[in-house]
Each structure stands twice: as structure tokens, then as C-alpha cells.
Amino acid sequence: MTDNAPRFWRAIPQRYSLIGTHCSNCNEYYFPPRNICPNCRRSAQMEEHKFKGTGTVVSCTTIYSATEDFERQTPYHLAIIQLDEGPRMTGQVISGPSGVKIGMKVKPVFRILGKEGDRGIIYYGTKFAPLEE
């Protein structure tokens, strides 16, 4: 069962370590990495950037009904997180007893994102947890 293996493998540095890009021409940060800087286009100077992973919750929800791949994990929390360096990303938040709130500070944690059944690949990646706890 290798349907998703190449696609997943290609984005491992992004999922594991939040490797994105930075355009030193306009100083904007991008996650996931962009080949073309939307601001500068041809005059972009793109270099690799490893994000710290810390950020703030912009909005969030608790998912009770999910697609088949994630149904076992419900309910779980999803959020749009603004990374400290600027770009936003979508990720799950492991909540402590006080739940997930808009404005909460978070840090990255390494978790299983999903599995291709009992026989397929395990997808690892970054989720988020409250910074204080």
C-alpha cells in the first residue's frame, strides 16, 4: 500500500520540523515553503527557514465528526495557529485541562498524525500543545 508514501515523504521536513522558506528580499516567512514569493515573484531571494514552532491560536474548534482517517480520534481540537515568525498554519492542539482558547500560546510536539490502516505507513508530524503546561 504505497498510495500516499511518496507524497507524504516529500513533505517530511515540513511535517516533522516545520522547515519553510524566508524571502530575504521582502523579509516575509512562508510555511509551508513556497517556491515563488507572492510579493516579489521574480525578484525573490528565497532561503530555507526552520520555524521555532511556537505561536498563538488565531481560531479553533473541536471536531466531533471527522473523515474516516480521523474518526477514531474524535473529539479532537483543531486550530489555526500564527507562528511567531508570521505565517499561519492549521494543526491539532493537544489540550490540557483548561482547553484550547483563541489567543493561547502554543509550542510544537511530535505526534502521530495518522496511519494507513494496520498495514500501511504511520504518518508522523507536528501538533501543538499549550506553552505553559
Binding site: 481560531s59 471536531i63 473523515t67 483543531l78
Partner: protein, 387 residues
């Protein structure tokens, strides 16, 4: 560039159509529109069809050829194009048809939309719909489509004070309209309590905040306005058409509580039509979730940003309000066969402008608007129609 008009419309019943295949429904809607328009098969110059995901739902691609074939036009070798923009596929098909006629390349063109969603399990359907979002960076991390709109809702409620009750009011209103629409999937009244009692999907959205899985097809026939009177007594002019794109992923948007694609597409359409939002009498907007309708009436310029919830609460968008929204029942109650919705919207506005909307007819419908969104706002189509 010449003016374009709608000279015929057709739409199937929306719902769980176990007995009908995608081919059956597209033929049904197509013939209905052709009959309504009085054109003959030989006059049809091109076909455009919006369909999001026949590949996932019924393992069939090459939909362009399929509908030409099942419309009986394959032997006439009519050019046929399938377009896809997730939930805005129908609106996109309409625009492509408008461009084809307006440019002078084609005279009589059919714009259709179809989706057959109920053959597969709910899980597979949800996964197919999730491909309207960003598969790599939203879905892979656990996002579902309702979750994206739930996050929009949460932030909208936080920023503008939109309430949970106001979200329900959208669903209640649209269900009420659905009761008056014979083709609507749901023809039952609901209440705020019923919405709240339905299971939570992604907080704060419940099942009754979400549009359903639906089978259905719709079609409209377009002609140059200068030829329209030859075919029908009540052609409906397309005054303006606007299309805009935005980032695929919600998290990349400039402002998560605004669909800039809607704002831009509307600006283009209103500009072309030389019409102000205040002149619109009736509109079909994209209420894939209750919050989406609130965003729509703000982003289309009908109310100030943040005032959408209040407008619904005050009855502005009800059938007898200042600007009735989604008289068809919207995506919520009429149903949302993804590729068909954009065309169904044109069908509904056409009926309103012709005075043929029967129990849900509004008075003095002169100018109408359709608004169709793809995904969480990566694409938007706005069309302005008039009597």
C-alpha cells in the same frame, strides 16, 4: 462584447435520488432547460458543465463528453467542457458559458451542473468534499471542511459578537423557504432548539448548520440578448459576471472572517453591471454552512462587515424582508449537489425575475444576484441578473 441572456432553465428535484444516476439527472435537467428555451438540439453551439468530483463519487471522469453524449448531442459533435472549482463549479460553468456567448464565439450555449453524491458512504463523501480544502496542509493535519467554517464562525463571533442564535436563524429561514420550493431536498420547518439538539460536528457548528449531501442537476440555456426574444418572452439578462481566486488554505487568508474572493468577484460583477448592492432585490448566496451566509451578505456589500448576524435576526433577509436571501432554501434546505448549486442559483433567480417562483415569489423582483464559493473561499463567482 455582446450582452447575454438566459432563455431557458431546468432543474431536477434535489435529494437522495437512489433511482437516478448522474447521467439520468443531467439529461433530465438539460431537457427541461432546452424545452423551456424552445431551442432545438442543432442550435446548441457549446456545453459547459460544472462537476466537482465525479471521479471520487462514481469513478467517472471525462464528464464533458458524458453530458454531450447523454444530452443526445454527441453525434452533433458539440464542444463540451467540464469545469471544476469545488463547490463553485456550477457558477464557474455559468461564467464560462457567458464568456463564450459574450465573445461571439458561440450563440446558444448550455451551462449545466451536476453531482451524484449519495452512492458512496458518508465517510468517502466527506473525504471527497475535503479535497475542496488544502489536502496537504489542512486535511492531512486533521482539518475537516466543517471545521474550517467552524473556525471562521468562532472568530466571527469573537470579533463581531455574532451569536449562536443568529447562526440558527439562517438555517430556520432557509428551511422555511425550502418548504415553499417543490424541488428542495428538505421541506420541513426547523427551530433554533432543533439546530442545537442536532449533534455537534465541529463546535460551534451542529449538523443543522451544515448543508447536506445531495444528488441533483440543473441547466440554463444562454443566448445573445439580441437573439433572446426569438426564443422566449421573458429572457433574463446577465448584467455582470465576476470571478476571483484567493489562497487555497483558510490559514493563508488576509482576514479569516472575510472571503476576499467574494468581495473581489462582487466588485467586478457590480462594476460591469453598473449596479449597486442596494439595488439587488433578491439573491442566492453560498450557505454551505450557516456562518457562510452571514459572511456572504457582508462580503457582497449588502451590510457592513460584522453586521450579517444582526441583519438575519432583524429579518432583512427573510422572504418578506428588504432583501430576501436564498428563497430556494439555499444550500442548507434546497440541498447542495456540489457542481449543480451554482446553476440552480441561476435557475432560482431566473424564476424570481420572471415572476414564476409561485409560493416563494417576492414582489417587484427586478435585479437578482447569485453567489457561489469554492472550498473555504479559494474561488468565488458572482453573477448579476435582471429582468
Amino acid at each position: 462584447m455582446r450582452s447575454v441572456s438566459i432563455i431557458g432553465v431546468g432543474c431536477t428535484k434535489f435529494g437522495e435520488r437512489w433511482d437516478s444516476s448522474l447521467r439520468d439527472m443531467v439529461a433530465e435537467a438539460g431537457f427541461s432547460a432546452i424545452e423551456d428555451s424552445n431551442v432545438s438540439g442543432e442550435e446548441i453551439s457549446a456545453l459547459y458543465v460544472g462537476n466537482m468530483s465525479a471521479g471520487r463519487f462514481i469513478e467517472q471522469e471525462h464528464i464533458g463528453s458524458l453530458i454531450a453524449d447523454y444530452a443526445g448531442l454527441a453525434r452533433l459533435h458539440v464542444p463540451s467542457t467540464r469545469v471544476e472549482a469545488a463547490c463553485a463549479s456550477g457558477g464557474l460553468a455559468l461564467r464560462q458559458a457567458v464568456l463564450a456567448v459574450s465573445s461571439g464565439y458561440h450563440d446558444i450555449v448550455i451551462a449545466a451542473g451536476v453531482e451524484k453524491m449519495t452512492d458512496v458512504s458518508g465517510g468517502t463523501a466527506a473525504d471527497a468534499l475535503a479535497s475542496a480544502a488544502d489536502r496537504e496542509w489542512e486535511c492531512f493535519f486533521g482539518a475537516t471542511f466543517p471545521a474550517l467554517y467552524a473556525m471562521i464562525a468562532r472568530l466571527h463571533m469573537r470579533k463581531y459578537g455574532t451569536t449562536r442564535e443568529q447562526l440558527s436563524m439562517v438555517a430556520v429561514k432557509n428551511h422555511h423557504h425550502g418548504c415553499l420550493n417543490p424541488i428542495a431536498q428538505y421541506q420541513m420547518e426547523i427551530t433554533h432548539e432543533k439546530v442545537m439538539k442536532s449533534p455537534l460536528v465541529a463546535d460551534p457548528l451542529h449538523v443543522f448548520d451544515c448543508s447536506p449531501l445531495t444528488d441533483g442537476a440543473a441547466a440554463v440555456v444562454l443566448a445573445p440578448t439580441e437573439m433572446a426574444k426569438k426564443y422566449c418572452d421573458t429572457p433574463v439578462k446577465i448584467l455582470g459576471s465576476g470571478q476571483a481566486s484567493d489562497t487555497l488554505a483558510l490559514h493563508d487568508r488576509r482576514d479569516i472572517t472575510t472571503l476576499d474572493a467574494t468581495v473581489c468577484a462582487a466588485r467586478v460583477a457590480f462594476g460591469q453591471a453598473r449596479v449597486e448592492p442596494g439595488q439587488i432585490n433578491v439573491a442566492e448566496v453560498h450557505d454551505c454552512f450557516t456562518i457562510a451566509e452571514i459572511l456572504a451578505i457582508e462580503d457582497l456589500g449588502f451590510v457592513e462587515k460584522g453586521q450579517g448576524g444582526k441583519a438575519v435576526e432583524e429579518g432583512m433577509t427573510s422572504l418578506n424582508g428588504k432583501l430576501p436571501i436564498n428563497t430556494s432554501g439555499g444550500l442548507k434546505a434546497c440541498g447542495h449537489p456540489v457542481g449543480a448549486t451554482g446553476i440552480k442559483q441561476a435557475y432560482e433567480i431566473t424564476l424570481q425575475l420572471r415572476g414564476e417562483a409561485k409560493k416563494r415569489q417576492i414582489d417587484d423582483a427586478e435585479i437578482g444576484l447569485t453567489h457561489n464559493v469554492g472550498g473555504s473561499g479559494g474561488t468565488a463567482l458572482v453573477h448579476i441578473l435582471s429582468r
